[in-house]
Each structure stands twice: as C-alpha cells, then as structure tokens.
Symmetry: C2
Subunit: 490 residues, 2 copies
C-alpha cells in the first residue's frame, strides 16, 4: 500500500514521544490520574496485563513458587538495617505519617500522627525478609520460594504512562536458599524465565546480561537484566533478577541451623517485572497505525464487526457473525462488536488497539459464507476467504501474525546494533545524531565511566553471550576482553 | 469415634477466639506482620484467596464487567466533595504527607512535604468517579461496568487476622448507569452474585437482605449485605452491594447527555468483597481439628502421603503415589508430599489445613493397589478402597464432602436462629447468655434503636425474604410487619 493515511495523528519519525502517547491513547490503554505521577490502567490496558500475569504466574508456580501477600506499609526504621538499600530508595518514598483526617475550617487536614512513620513499599526485600527470619529455622525449611503481585510506589518527578509512574503494578519474587550456588542458580533461572517471556511470548528481541557493579539493585551482589531496543533506538530494561548474597539475610537476621548444626545466614534472591513491560510492548511493536499485540497477550485475537444497513437482513448478518465466532473460538479469543457506532470508526479503533485479525461481515460475506479479514501486522492487508477455510487456517494466521511482529523487530534490532565503534570519540559522534545499541569492549574499571554520562548513555549490561575476542576498552583504551552493550535508555 | 484427641490445642467451646487463632495458625494461613494492624497472607491462605478470586472474577466478566486499576492514593481534597462519605471514613485513613526520607543523626525521618496530603484508598468511589466523569459523555457511553482487585486501608485499633486488619485485599466493582432502574438492577444482581458465591460455592448458610438506613455505606442510598452465622452465633457481613443513587455522580460530576439531549447525572453502584471471607470460611466450617475447606476453594482436594520406611520398596511406593495422582488429577487437584518429615506429622498438618481427602500410601496399599483415605469432613473417617474405585468415585467423594460441610452448617444455622422472641426484655435476656440470630419485627423507626446498642446487638439486615405476617415492633411495641435479623456481629 503506497501513501495511505495512517490511523494515528503523529508518526514515529515525526515525534517519537508524541507518537507513544498517541498509541497509548488510541488503544485506550491508560490515562494520567488526577493524582500526580499516577496512572489509571483502563480495561484494554489491564486486559493485556492480566494476560501477562496469567502466563508468568503459571511459569512461576511450575517452578515451585507460591504467591503470598505482605504489607503495603514498611516501618521506616526497617530501612535503617540495610545502608545501600535505603540509599537507593530514600529519595523516592511516599511516607505515611498520620492515620486520621480532621475537618478544620471546612478543610480536611491530617490528624493523629504515627509514632513511627511508615513507607509505602518501593520493593519488599525488608518486610519479606522480616517474615523469612521467623519462618526459617533449619536447612529443612529451605528453599523458601515466594512471589507477590502487588502495587509499589517510587516517587517520580517526571512521569510517563507505563514507563515511569509513581505507583506501578508488578510481581516481586523473593527466595531464600541454603547455599550461594543454589541462590545464584535461582537468580539465573528467573533471568531465563524473563528472557523467555520477553523474547518468546512478547516477541521482543533483547539481550540478557549482568549489570555493571555501579548499576546494581540497591543492596544486591549481582543484578541481571533483559535489555530490549525500542523503535527510537533506546534501551528499556524489561525485568531484573538479583542475587542478594547474604546482605538482606544479615540485615533481617535470616538464619538457619545447617547440616553441620551451626547457624548460617541464608542466601537470598529477588526478581521483578512490572507494568513497564506494556510500555516496552508499545514501543517495540506499534507502528503509525497504533498498537500491535503478540497473540499470547492480545485480549482478543479476532474482532468481528457486523456491517449493518438497517435492512431486514441485519439479523442474518448478526447470526452469521455468531457462526463465525463459534467456528473459531476453540482456537482464538473472539469478540463481536455489536455496539451502535459507525463500522468504519470501529474498524480504525481496532486497528489502533492492535487486534491481530479484524473481520468485517456484511451482506456479501453472508451470501457466500465468507469472511473479510484485515491483517493488522501485514500493513492492514485485506483478504476474503470462505468461513471453512478461516476455521482451518485461524491458528496458522495467528502464528503468521506473531512471526511478522518478531521478524520486524529482529530486523530493526539487527540494523540498529553496531559492533564497529572502537573509540570514545566515535561513540560520542554516533550518539550526537543517532540512538543505537553499541557492542563495545570494557575493562570493567570505574575509570572514565563518567564519560558515558556526558553523552547520556550507560552500560546497559554485560551480555551473557560474550564474543571472547580481545580488544581495547572503549573508555580507557586498556586491553579488554569483556563485551558490553552501550545505549541511551528509558 | 469416641473421645479421641483433637488436632488443635483448644476447642470452639473452651475459647472461641483462641480457637480461631489456632485454626488460622494450624493451617498456616496468615500471621500478624511487624507493621501494626497488618497481616502477612501466607502461601496456603493466599492460595484460597486465589481460588476465590478466580471464581468471582470469571462471574464478574461473564456479566460484562472489565477489570481496571486506579491509583492507591487519593488527594485529600477529593473527600471534601461527599460529606457523608468522608464522615464515614475520616477516622480511619492512612495519610501520606511526605515523599522522601532523610538521614538525620543516624535516623530516617520524613522529608519533602506534599502540598496536598494523599489518603491511601479506604475505597475508591471518589477516584473512580473522577475518571468516570471524563469517560462518560453520552448515554451511549453507559453503562460503565468496572472492577478492580486491590489493597485498601482502614486504620483499625483492634485487629484480628482476616476479620479486621488495617490493610486488606478486596475487589471493588463500580458501575454507572443511565437510569435508577438499571442501577438498582445492577446492585441487586451483584447482591445475587455474592449470595451465590457465599452460599453455593463456600457452602455457607446466609441471609441476603438490605441494611437499615442507619447502617448504610457512607454515601449510599441503599446497602445490601449477606449475613452469615459463625459458630459462636455471631453474624459476619460477607459482602456488600450499594445503590449509590446520584450522590457520587453529583460529587464527582458524572454527567451525560441523555436521549432527550439534556444533561443528566448518572446513577452509580458499588459492590465489594474482601479477604474477610476467609475469616468467615474459617469460623463457619472449621472444627476442633482445624480448617475444613469446600472443594471449590480448596488449594488441594487430595494430598498423598507416602509412608516410607527406608526400605528398597520406597521407590515403588513413590511410583504408586504418582500412579494415584495420574488416575485422579483430571477430576481433582492433587499434591504428593515428598518432604522429609514424619508421616504422622504430615497427616495432622493436612487435617489442620482442611484437605478434603488425605491418602496414606504404604507397602500394604502398594501390594494390593489400594488407597487408604481419611475423609476430613466425616470426623476423619478412614476407608481403604482399590485404586480403580477411587478413580471412579473421586468426584462423588468431593460432592459428598461439600454436602457434609453444607449440611452441618445448615443445621447449626437452623438451631441457632430464633423466631420466638417477641419483646425487648426477652431479647435482652437471651443475649445475656447466648448469641443467636433473632428474626423479629421492626417498625422501621429510629426510635429506641439505641436499646440494641445497650445489649451489643445490631439489626443485621432486612431479609429479602419477608414473612409478611403482622406483629409488634420489638423496640417500640407499635404495629410492625417488617422482619429483621438481630444479632451480635464481627
């Protein structure tokens, strides 16, 4: 299709940030709340999150984790126990100081101050560690493998829907183990799970790796992340897993009697993924017509729009829509849109919502028992096939849909990854005009890391897959054999 | 079985409150958190909540509701919009006043005060109403049918696990409609859904009815509740649905252009159920051996305990346990407990956890391919049947299990409901020694309602099912034809 109009008022090229907002609004995913920095996740956006939750939750359980629920509020003095941890979060915590409102001069003001202020959880290592310290007495009680789905709060000054909001939804896994080896294995396993989810389920090309020491989670020994490339060349950290060593066990006194009858500190891990993944999904697969959804997380695979003319055949058309639904609903999530509205408007709404297959059913389709299909991922290509063929091919069509999304993203990822940048000046020049993922050598020393700040980029990760080739550190020009990924990031 | 020992250290008769704690601890459902008034829901307790969520959520969706997520924090000035609402909640709200912690003299103290304090949601009518006021423009946008699963906070001075905690988990449905009739129908439908859930799924005898005016939800026109009877004769309000009239629409400006082209205020409803239901479940079905779970919400229907002796047949016993699992897992949720622990201890753990069928599998069972089963609801009755019979009968055994729970509760309910109390002095005398549900006549007037406070009871509800017999008001001795339920309550 040549120069057709697109469904969004702004394109990726014109203004990436305005485009992101247009996709989010156009698909009716979320909106800014009247509370500073917070968002309202609307039904369609939340349905995507529910799909994500269901898939991840089943995998966590398959691996032996149980869900629990721990308190939202954490006594501020618990944070005094882990210096690195509090240093990382103190600047962005919402603090509860009162437990009553009082009417004074027609205004409501906080009353009944608390003895100990309470922080709204920014993450739950401390409060969960406090429980673990009571739960774990012997090596026989290990491992403890738990997860919770909840809201957390990190006060943000500049916010963007899904990507950065003061409150967000997430899952946080927390585990305690007898040995370092076991705990490291758990952190690695969950890193693999996230890679599987982002790569295989969300069809997003990404690089799993370890964070450099200066960018670890506050209190962790090692942090692993998944780095995905957005369509503006910037990186998004999609999920993280941490090996926490004995730091939190020491802070919270998680001790157990070992096989040697002596007391030992447990080794703990934590790992999390958030509604930010929806932001990543948007920035990876959407185009100038709006959202595109991989089938596993699409609330609907197929939306059927009846084209009604107010004639006496309308009821037959609606009946035929139901026949189509019945024919394919074993293989696909199907919705018939019977709302009173212009069919054309509906069609463009579902284009913007990224429904993989949009079917328009009118008199013509009724008469020859066919289905007109718009393939969202194939530049809105149209085709018309007999209903029985549609029934036969629906699964393959969804597989094809996913492949197209995956291939487009792989291609973009390949084209925007550079491994030919060898010096800092080349790096600086590149990022003056473009955003890319750069694979470069790093010595691992902190020397000159500040040079990266100057050009607004960071070491995203030390990729798991290393080339093992020797070279020169892009920051110090020393000999170096470690590959790192450099990029701007969200 | 005559005078066998029971699995709990305290019985219902000895000390109901200590017994409740013993059931909760014995089944490892939850514990008090280190944060005042909050609880930790442990894996087994949370698994019950997940089952409840799955069943209710599917029903809500079947009825057209979509899940969303709204902010945790509500600007305090929003509460100034609805006087009754704030009057109901002001005394128990956690208030965020700062967004940073600062280290001073080695202590962490709140810093960066907020311009407008924020309340942690005690319920979300206002913040959701604020969104609805933007979403709804025309009658074509109605109805709006949404729900959210989240945490809420109501500061409580005296707390009890599940029954009364400062933070709890719940679902809150919020809907907006074009007409009063439609909104009333929605409130009624959701009242029916809750009755179905409590009565048909949880197997709890209960009375659906309307709250008297003096006990409505803060800001509602009508409140409907489900009143269940605990094993100490007290009432537990299990879930509520509210017809809110135009009160919240007025406060939050939820207006729409009607079919007559004029502006109208929407009619709204809200309805909620909480983790308190788990407390109800405990107090209704548990006995002096611990928890009893209706099959729909039991994390496991069957637990298989291998009786291993350290002999060379151990592996065969474990294999046989897996064969049993395979044989029944299409009809039941099954868990094989392979942990290193005394089989006797395991058995009593699962008795206390209320697993419907506990299977012990040793050499004897292996040799004749049989299964030894302890039926939890039948006073731990034991039977031994061939595996193929077990496979055949498993579904019926679970149905039988549920019937026993339901019948026991129905009987208790019947035996502890009195309809022969005609005067206030009889009522007073009764409640001096016993807790019962009393069906009595009430004139509907507020006169003498304070007499009920004096004996610590309340009008639980005006039951949906009315006898229509005439009589005398138990408070005023006037003619009265309205039946009400009187009881002590949680």
């Amino acid at each position: 299709m040549a120069d057709r109009k697109h469904a969004l008022p702004v394109s990726r090229k014109e203004d990436f940030s305005a485009w992101y907002q247009a996709v989010t609004a156009g698909a009716d995913l979320a909106e800014n709340a009247c509370v500073r920095g917070c968002m309202v996740i609307k039904p369609y956006g939340f349905a995507i999150w529910e799909r994500m939750q269901a898939i991840m939750d089943a995998k966590f359980k398959e691996l032996g984790h149980c869900n629990c629920y721990f308190p939202l509020l954490i006594p501020v003095d618990l944070f005094e126990r882990e210096a690195d941890h509090v240093a990382g979060f103190a600047k962005e915590m919402a603090i509860v100081t009162h437990h009553r409102l009082e009417q004074r001069d027609g205004k409501l003001i906080p009353a009944s101050p608390l003895e100990t202020p309470l922080a709204i959880r920014p993450t739950s290592e401390l409060i969960i560690g406090e429980s673990m310290s009571r739960w774990i007495k012997s090596y026989r009680d290990l491992p403890v493998l738990i997860n919770q789905w909840c809201n957390v709060m990190r006060w943000e000054m500049r916010t963007r829907l899904f990507l950065r909001t003061s409150e967000f939804l997430w899952q946080e896994g927390h585990t305690a183990h007898e040995t370092e080896e076991e705990a490291r294995k758990e952190a690695r396993t969950m890193h693999d799970v996230y890679y599987w989810f982002v790569h295989d389920i969300l069809k997003i090309s990404c690089i799993p790796g370890k964070k450099p020491d200066h960018d670890r989670f506050a209190g962790a020994v090692d942090t692993f992340s998944i780095e995905a490339m957005m369509q503006d060349g910037k990186a998004l950290q999609a999920a993280t897993s941490h090996y926490l060593g004995q730091n939190f066990a020491r802070a919270m006194n998680i001790q157990f009697q070992g096989r040697d009858d002596k007391l030992h500190l447990a080794h703990t891990t934590s790992w999390g993924s958030t509604t930010r993944l929806i932001g990543g999904l948007i920035m990876v697969h959407s185009d100038d017509d709006g959202l595109n959804l991989p089938s596993e997380v699409a609330p609907y695979h197929v939306v059927i729009i009846p084209l009604l003319k107010g004639s006496d055949r309308d009821d037959d058309i609606v009946s035929f829509c139901h026949s189509i639904k019945r024919a394919i609903e074993k293989s696909a999530r199907v919705f018939i849109d019977l709302k009173e509205a212009e069919a054309q408007n509906k069609k463009w709404d579902y284009v913007r919502k990224g429904v993989p297959l949009i079917c328009e059913i009118g008199l013509r389709e009724l008469e020859d028992q066919s289905v007109s299909i718009i393939k969202r991922a194939s530049n809105l290509e149209k085709l018309r096939i007999p209903l029985n063929k549609f029934e036969e091919q629906i699964e393959d069509m969804l597989i094809e849909h996913d492949k197209i999304l995956q291939q487009k993203n792989e291609e973009y990822f390949r084209e925007n990854t550079r491994d030919d940048i060898k010096t800092y000046s080349e790096l600086k020049e590149l990022f003056e005009t473009e955003n890319k993922f750069v694979i470069a050598k790093w010595s691992g020393s902190q020397e000159n890391v500040n040079l990266l700040d100057e050009i607004g980029i960071t070491i995203r990760c030390i990729p798991r897959q290393q080339s093992n080739a020797k070279g020169k550190c892009i920051l110090t020009n020393e000999d170096a054999d470690m590959d790192v990924i450099l990029a701007k990031s969200y």
